[in-house]
Symmetry: C2
Subunit: 310 residues, 2 copies
C-alpha cells in the first residue's frame, strides 16, 4: 500500500517520517513546487532520507526515483495526501489534484484547508478525509461527524492558535500587541502571509469546514471577518456560526471570565458545538507539524482500510 505526497514542506516531511517509522505504508510519489518524482514500488528508506535532505522545491532535482507527473504517480498509489499550502483564491493546484485522484478511484487525505473551504459541496460524499484541516491535533471533525442526524444550532470557537497566542500574551503577560506579534513571528507561528492569521481567513476556513461537516451549507464568502485586535480582558478571536440562520463571522470579542473559552490560552484551540440536545466543548492543540502529521496518519490508515469505520 502506498500514498502520493502532494507538497513537501514542514508538515509533508514530518508526515513522511511518521509514516515510515510507524507503518509499512510507502510513498510512491512526492511533488513540490519544483516538480515531482515517482517510484511505483515505493521509496526505500534511504531514498526518503535523500529527499528529506533536499531543499524546498528540490524534489525533482534530488536524483531520487524518476521524474514524473501526478497522474503517473496516482496509477500506483492508493491515496493522495495533500500537504500543500492553502491558496484561498482558487484552491489550486490542490483542487485539480483532488479531481484527478478521485477520477482514478483514489482517496484524498488533506491538511490543506483551501479546497474544502472553497468547494465543500463538490466533495460531499466522496472519499476525502480532512480531520487535519481543523484543530489538527484534536479530532473534532470526527466528533462532529458523530453528530450528523441531529440538529446543530451553532458553533463558536477559537480556531486560530497564532492569534490566540498573541492575545494571551497581551492579556495575561502584559506584552503590547506589537511585541506579541513579533514574538509569534519569531516562534514561526505566523503564516508566510500574516493576513491569513490576522485577518481571520485561517479561522474562517476552519469554521466553514466544520459547519459543513455538521450539515450546514456555508461558504468562505459567507463569513464576515474583522481583523484581530485587543479589546481588553478577556479578548478572544472568536469564529462563530449560527447554522439556523446561515450567519457566520470571525471577530475579536470580550468574554466573561466564567466563559469556558476564556480559559483557553496561548496556542490552544477550542470549539463549542450547540445541538438540539447538547452543548459540547472540545479543547486541545491545533496544528503543529507532529500533531498534523498524526491526524494525516489516522486518516490515511482509515482511507487504506487499516482502521474500521465503526
Amino acid at each position: 500500500m502506498s500514498v502520493v505526497l502532494f507538497g513537501f514542506g514542514g508538515v509533508g516531511r514530518t508526515f513522511a517520517e511518521v509514516l515510515y517509522s510507524r507503518t509499512d505504508v510507502r510513498i510512491a510519489g512526492v511533488f513540490d513546487s519544483g516538480g515531482g518524482v515517482v517510484k511505483c514500488a515505493g521509496l526505500e528508506r534511504a531514498e526518503l532520507r535523500a529527499l528529506l535532505a533536499a531543499p524546498r522545491g528540490g524534489v525533482a532535482s534530488s536524483g531520487v526515483g524518476s521524474r514524473g507527473g501526478l497522474e503517473e504517480a496516482l496509477e500506483c498509489a492508493d491515496v493522495l495526501v495533500d500537504v500543500s499550502p492553502p491558496n484561498y483564491s482558487t484552491g489550486e493546484p490542490a483542487l485539480s489534484a483532488y479531481r484527478l485522484a478521485l477520477s482514478k478511484g483514489r482517496a484524498v487525505v488533506t491538511a490543506n484547508k483551501a479546497p474544502l473551504a472553497l468547494r465543500f459541496g463538490e466533495f460531499l460524499g466522496r472519499p476525502v478525509y480532512y480531520k487535519a484541516t481543523v484543530m489538527a491535533g484534536t479530532p473534532v471533525i470526527d466528533l462532529a461527524r458523530g453528530l450528523v442526524g441531529q440538529k446543530v444550532l451553532r458553533i463558536r470557537g477559537i480556531l486560530n492558535g497564532t492569534t490566540n497566542y498573541i492575545l494571551t500574551r497581551v492579556d495575561r503577560d502584559g506584552l503590547s500587541f506589537g511585541e506579541a506579534l513579533e514574538e509569534a513571528k519569531a516562534k514561526g507561528y505566523v503564516e508566510p502571509d500574516p493576513s491569513i492569521d490576522l485577518e481571520g481567513l485561517d479561522a474562517a476556513a476552519k469554521l466553514v469546514i466544520l459547519a459543513n461537516t455538521l450539515g450546514a451549507s456555508l461558504s468562505l464568502q459567507d463569513v464576515a471577518r474583522e481583523p484581530v485586535r485587543y479589546l481588553g480582558r478577556v479578548t478572544k478571536y472568536i469564529a462563530e456560526a449560527d447554522l439556523e440562520r446561515g450567519a457566520a463571522r470571525v471577530a475579536p470579542a470580550k468574554l466573561q471570565e466564567s466563559d469556558l473559552l476564556a480559559s483557553v490560552g496561548y496556542t490552544l484551540n477550542a470549539v463549542e458545538i450547540v445541538t438540539e440536545t447538547n452543548d459540547i466543548v472540545v479543547i486541545g492543540k491545533g496544528a503543529g507539524r507532529l500533531e498534523t502529521s498524526l491526524a494525516l496518519l489516522n486518516d490515511a490508515l482509515k482511507a487504506l482500510g487499516r482502521i474500521g469505520r465503526w
Copy 2:
C-alpha cells in the same frame, strides 16, 4: 433498509420514534424480556404506535406483526440495535445476539455497555458501532478513534452523570449526600440497581470501552473501584487509566478549583485524553434518552452506509 430492536425500554422507544420521524429506515423486529415480533417488510407507523402503547415486556403479546425469534428477524434486517439493559456478570443475552447478528453478516449498533466492557477484544475489527455507550450525547468515541496511530498516555474523566449530579448538589448547593441521592433517585437518574452508579461499575465500563478504543487492552476486572463519597470541595468521582502501565481505577478525588474537570457540574460528563502530543478535554452531556437515541441514529446511519466513513 431496516433494523431489529433488541430491547424496548425508555431508550428503545425513543430511538424508534426518532428513527421513524427522521429517516425512512424501518424496524423489522422488536424484542424485549417477554419475547419478540417480526415483520420483514418493516413496521408501519400505526404498528409502531401500537407497540409504543404496549407495557414493558409486552411486545410479544401486542398483536403487532407475527411472533418470532431473533434469527428470523435478522434474516430481513441490516442492523441489530442493542438497547437492552447491561448485564455485567455475563453480558447476556446481548452477547449471544451480537454473535448471531455478526455470523449473519449484520452490523451491531449498541448503547449497552456490558458486552464490550466484558469482551472488547472479541469484537475488535468487527462492525460493532458503540458511540452510544460512552458519554452518549457527546461522540467522544469518534474523537478517540481519530487518535488511533498515536500513543495515548492516559485518560481521566467524569463518566457517570448520576454521581456527578449528587456530588455537585452537595458541593455547590449544600445538600447532604443522602438528600442528593434521594433527589437523584426521584429524578430517575439512578440505575434500578443503584450500586452500578454508586460503586463505579457504570464509570468503569465506560473507561474500559474508551481505553480499548484508544488501543489499550484493559478489561473490567482490571479497574479498581471505590464507592462514591464526598471528600470536601471539589469532589469528583474520577475514572482514570494509565494506558502505559495498564492501571485503572474509579474513585472519588478532591480536585483543585483550577482543574478544568472541577468546573464540570451536575449531570455533565467530561474526559481528558493525554497523548504523546496533545492534552484534549471534551465536556458535554452523557446519556439521556434523546441524546442516546441520536447517537444510535448516527451509528445506524453509518452502519447502513448513509454517512460516509471519511
